[in-house]
Amino acid sequence: MAEARAALLLRRLAGGVARAGFRHGVHPPECKELTAALPIRRMPFPDEVVLPLRQHAGKPARLVVRKGDHVERGDVVAVADGFVSSPVHASATGRVIDVDWWPHPDGSMCQSVRIALDRWSGQLPRPRVVPDWHGLTPAQVVQAVQDAGVVGLGGAAFPTHVKLQPPPGTTIDTLVVNGAECEPYLTTDHRIMVEYAERVHFGIRIMMHALGVPRCIVGVERNKPDAIAALERTRPADLDVTILPLTVKYPQGAEKLLIKSVLDREVPSGKLPASVGVIVQNVGSIAALAEIFETGLPLIERIVTVSGHGVQRPANLIVPVGTKARDLLAACGGLTDDAAEVLFGGPMMGNAVSNLDAPLLKGTTGVVVLTESEVRGREETACIRCGHCLDACPMFLNPSLLGDLARLGRYDDMQKERLGDCMLCGSCSYVCPSNIPLAQLFSASKSALRRNAATAGVKS
């Protein structure tokens, strides 16, 4: 903490502006004013929820209910299949009307549990035993977190309990809490920090206990002064927790870059943050973890931002996991006449959905609706070698060269040019004056490489 504070002080003295941070990156319009000041409200329950078994990174959950079963809110419908997996719980009381393939937000189909809500149910969960974190060993905390189905709520949906058990042989000295929220439009984490600052600190306390780390640093972009103030106000005196304001720059919230900004440590290529003694958790995940030890409830609802100029009434809402995009948008007044594209996640890394029946997942940070004027006019022209993509890439790749290689199908050469370091943040595509879809090319190349690797043994 002293180190980070001293570094910040030095930077302040040197530059006037705190240049805490990583190099390169871009400055897309923030567009957060639509929802930044709106308090979190609860969305009324929809008539039906759809729970895909694949909502997290890792192995899909294993089904334990059948068509026709009655489930109470909070009951398990699918259990974790192995350690790097996470269970799925019923987000509402009702009847399982189907277990079948259903549109997934990523564009594929996924085995999902459809629950028709019980009209007369009060939607109250069964009475629960709230675990007392003081008495739990780190291993018991890990188990409790896995049983509650908590995954990274910042978008990647990596099971939280896996991060709480760092690989043997590594020493973790810092817990970094990600409150950067650098994606335009999204204000989910912002509102959590403002309204649930105490819960965030409670979650930090449990996590520090489970990990046995001596200090915690919360990184928050400077465009959220009320969040910084709220966290400072509620900061516990007995813990080494620092709230660190960060430069407003995309992608500040990317794990490796956040660690660089906060601690000035660089995670080696292909390694986890644990290799430099750090665990990163998103503030939303921390708050969700705290809830287990406040209410005993598993992760059955989450906070999302519904925003964009294509939606009638932007809002920050508490939404049951599995709510269909159609129901969520209807709760926000529906789409405007010029709405054109519906995104799950933010506009930089989120994906467009083709079917509004796709349900909200645990990892869905928001739903953003762009208008026709925002999506039109992207004709691709020849690369003029301006090099702006090299100046934008926070991982110091050469997107121009990688793009050329992708077009030639030279995926193995792309791997030599460190395609693996690309996190698909889209900064290169954002700045490209020729509208070359670089991030899309890289995403496709990564898939091609995965496919080649998977079929390598079969062909030979």
Partner: protein, 339 residues
Amino acid sequence: MSRDATEPLVIAAAPHLKGRDSTARIMWTVVGSLAPIVVAATYFFGPSALLVIGASCLGALGIERLLGKGGTLADGSAVITGILLGLTLPAGMPLWMAALGGAFAIGFGKLLFGGLGHNIFNPALLGRAFLQAAFPVAITTWPAITVPHWWSLRGDNFALPFMRASAADAVTAATPLGLMKFEHKGTALVNLMLGTTGGSLGETAGLLILLCGAYLAWRRYLNWRIPVSILVTVALLSDALHAIDPARYPAALFMIFSGGLLLGAVFMATDMVTAPVTNAGRWIFGAGIGLLVVVIRVWGGLPEGVMYAILLMNAVVPFINRATQPRPFGPRVVQEPAT
């Protein structure tokens, strides 16, 4: 009133937001930043300046229209080539030569390589190199700055193709570099900076070129490292030579403000297509140009060497790019845990 959510939605790949820069926007901004220089050239050289620049643009645009793939006229890059080529020509140049140069610049310098983004050499300079080889006399006939009227032509602009130009009525003058090289005479620095000397149309007003370049650099449409690297190299080398023999070698400021160095350093070497994409590469590229300029000017047979210096360095850009790939994110030395 809300839209029915069953209508088709746009499905595009991330990122869904896009910065405001586009190729056409960059190119037309460069054209805009060249406008003051064209105005200055017209002020110094009269209507001849507009005629020559117009002719070379016409040649460039004509061939782009004729041979280019559809829609490339609007991206503005042919206009830049035409203006830049025009600015490197003397005011008395016959218009048909200027037009031919513009056509060559785009046809051979750009379209033959596959169009915008694929050319290796700066098209405008390739056009000028062609004109220098084809019409060595016309391209080195520098009209005098002082003429009876501002509106009088500075030479036989309307000469017909392949007719001997009636050079008799043109009053010629040497350029500052020519004076220095062949007669060992200097030119006042203030004249070099303001542009009241002989020379090509756009190369005389040094301060104005720097100003326009600074604007482009501020807009990030021009990488400042390239001109800075060129000018610093030229200044250091010529200062060193000047210290050895002040009578033979001119001082740094004279070197920088004379001839086409500023126009070349600011507007030609920084052409995005033909310059390196990495920052380290840009420093090397600029230093190479600076070195070649001094070598050609001091020891070569020509008084001026900017054109060949840039073209030669253009040729090695792919190697510079390959040698200066960015440093990977992550520790320099990955320490493998001891087993």
